[in-house]
């Protein structure tokens, strides 16, 4: 089975990047492609609990990414990025695993295709 790795390294709501990543993840997983998502850098804010984006007219990415398991996609969050932002694991939605940069590297090596989502500019 092909393995796709989706990397999200940008914060939610400033751009449509994280929402577009979600659409891609669910699309790939729906095509029976083994899909894993890594939140790294400011991407970890996608998993922050307690988001209320209706205040700025946006849909909740916290809710969206919480449903990834229902689509058969895995969610990984990089520990170093969580710690750099003074967050704790319990501040975030449940992930399949909190991974180290070394484990992130292994995922890159094991994947057949890597798609990175980061804000442009």
């Amino acid at each position: 089975m092909p393995k796709a790795l989706i990397i999200v390294d940008t914060a939610p709501y400033g751009t449509a990047t994280c929402a577009e990543a979600f659409r891609t993840i669910t699309g790939l997983a729906g095509m029976d492609i083994e899909t894993a998502t890594v939140l790294v850098g400011d991407g970890v804010f996608v998993a922050k609990r307690g988001q209320n984006p209706s205040l700025i007219g946006m849909k909740s990415l916290e809710e969206a990414y919480s449903m990834l398991g229902d689509f058969g996609a895995k969610l990984y969050i990089v520990r170093e990025s969580i710690e750099e932002r003074n967050l704790k694991e319990e501040d975030l939605i449940p992930a399949d695993k909190i991974i180290t940069m070394d484990e992130f590297r292994k995922l890159i090596e094991e994947s057949h295709c890597i798609i990175t989502f980061h804000a442009g500019g």
């Binding site: 890159i108 890597i114 980061h118």
Partner: protein
């Protein structure tokens, strides 16, 4: 496994180039293209340090010649032209772009 990292963002504007440098291992290649070639100036201290460490652990650092020269920049690192860049992409086991 050797991975090719393609970095197209300025290290002064974005922190992602630093993040991906940390993922590099021995025998990997990093090529700076587009605004990424601004790394030829060294970049912020943390980035500069990470780049030096990457070189020490055996990561090859390249710059895309056309993008570097278009911006009037120079580097003592190895330059690769468009054709060489395409060859790299074809020959590496894994390619990751930023």
């Amino acid at each position: 496994m050797a991975v090719l990292f393609i970095i197209s963002k300025s290290p002064f504007k974005k922190t992602e180039p630093l993040l991906y440098l940390r993922l590099t291992r021995q025998n990997d290649t990093v090529i700076f293209i587009q605004d990424g070639v601004i790394a030829a100036l060294g970049g912020p201290n943390e980035f500069k340090k990470e780049l030096e460490e990457a070189i020490k652990r055996g990561v090859e650092i390249l710059f895309l010649k056309e993008d570097l020269e278009a911006r009037g920049l120079q580097t003592d690192k190895k330059l690769v032209d468009y054709d060489g860049f395409l060859e790299l992409i074809e020959n590496k086991e894994k390619v990751m772009s930023l």
